[in-house]
Symmetry: C2
Subunit: 217 residues, 2 copies
């Protein structure tokens, strides 16, 4: 698992009080910027819930190319897998607080209690849905990918008329299957088209969502 961590503290799963997963106890841990959470092929002994900050999962290919599989923000659960080894690596983007849960505790409970098993199934199904959306993204043009990405992110982040990007252009590029240059150019294009505004490189004002939705497909 990750190397540097601090601030251990026992507590319950902090979400919907009727959630059957509340029966499981976890531990909060703080991870530094760019810190490793787990590596590809490490055993799936833990799963995680993002309390604050942002996380990316990724794979590195033989020739050095990197594929970003997903971004996880506050409230998202990740690292839950059926196999004994993780299929992606996970890293912190901005410094993050994570709730860390022992997989064995979850699985043991699932065997005895049906509602927990159903909840886990739903989590996997939701992840499947997310990955399917990702494949749809990758069949589109650069403009469509960037527009879709911005709308997807805007829908997940607390409501505001702008997005504060936790990730770099490289992270976005590796998620969208583009180069950093193309991402940068496309964002400039969208700004020229009056769809967005870029006060600085990490903040994006969604000036016209209708235009974005039209570009999206």
């Amino acid at each position: 698992m990750g190397s540097s961590h601090s601030a251990r503290q026992k507590l319950l799963w902090p979400s919907d009080p009727t959630d059957p997963l509340n029966k499981i106890v976890g531990v909060t841990m703080s991870f530094p910027r760019n810190g490793e959470i787990y590596g590809e092929d490490e055993s799936t002994d833990y799963l995680y819930k993002v309390i604050s900050g942002a996380v990316r999962t990724y794979k590195i290919f033989g020739d050095g190319r990197r594929q970003v599989g997903a971004f996880y923000l506050a409230g998202d659960i990740f690292g839950l897998e059926m196999g004994v080894k993780h299929t992606f690596s996970a890293e912190v983007i901005t410094s993050a607080k994570l709730l860390v849960i022992k997989r064995s505790a979850v699985m043991g409970l699932a065997e005895r209690e049906g509602d927990v098993a159903l909840r886990l199934w739903v989590l996997t199904a939701r992840e499947l849905f997310r990955v399917q959306d990702h494949t749809l993204l990758l069949m589109k043009t650069a403009r469509e990918r960037v527009a879709s990405f911005l709308l997807e992110l805007a829908a997940r982040v607390p409501a505001a008329d702008f997005i504060e990007l936790p990730m770099s252009r490289r992270d976005i590029a590796d998620y969208l299957g583009l180069t950093v240059e193309t991402v940068s150019r496309t964002l400039s294009d969208l700004q020229n088209a009056a769809a967005i505004e870029l006060p600085n490189s990490r903040r994006i004002v969604l000036r016209n969502r209708t235009v974005l939705r039209r570009l999206k497909s």
Copy 2:
């Protein structure tokens, strides 16, 4: 659901005798070539197991582009989803026999019996794994995509030194995010590179898998 069907017959799930899903009874149905199984946004009342033949799932975009989500061959289960509506449409490629199971029967059993619930979870997790591999495909070059596709298919199909493709070049193209022309050209390239041989358009002899694996990434 699909329009034309015939040869109804009650029977048990025909696979591993220890499979807890054997407790569920289904009905076999024959579907004609290119027949519709279910449409996108239709309710998820049934799930399916391929007895023989081949199936594709797909989505059509506003501008007419088609995205093929997956190919299902003999033994594969598809159509199992958490949501009330299907996220893809499903069609028969070659004429197929499918085992059709009522979703409510499966879900009801899952609530009472933990091993069934676990089995369903595994099925969804396997689907997730498959879709993740698909996203990895879509980040690669045309050669890499075609090479990966051939190896993936060869691994699923009964062992032989050749593949009998059930699907058309268009199907392959829409699955790989390429045009038919690019797929055709790439197959010709691979033949020139002595990696494969094309006795006819539907049969592919894997002449040199090592070369394919090298091209794959």
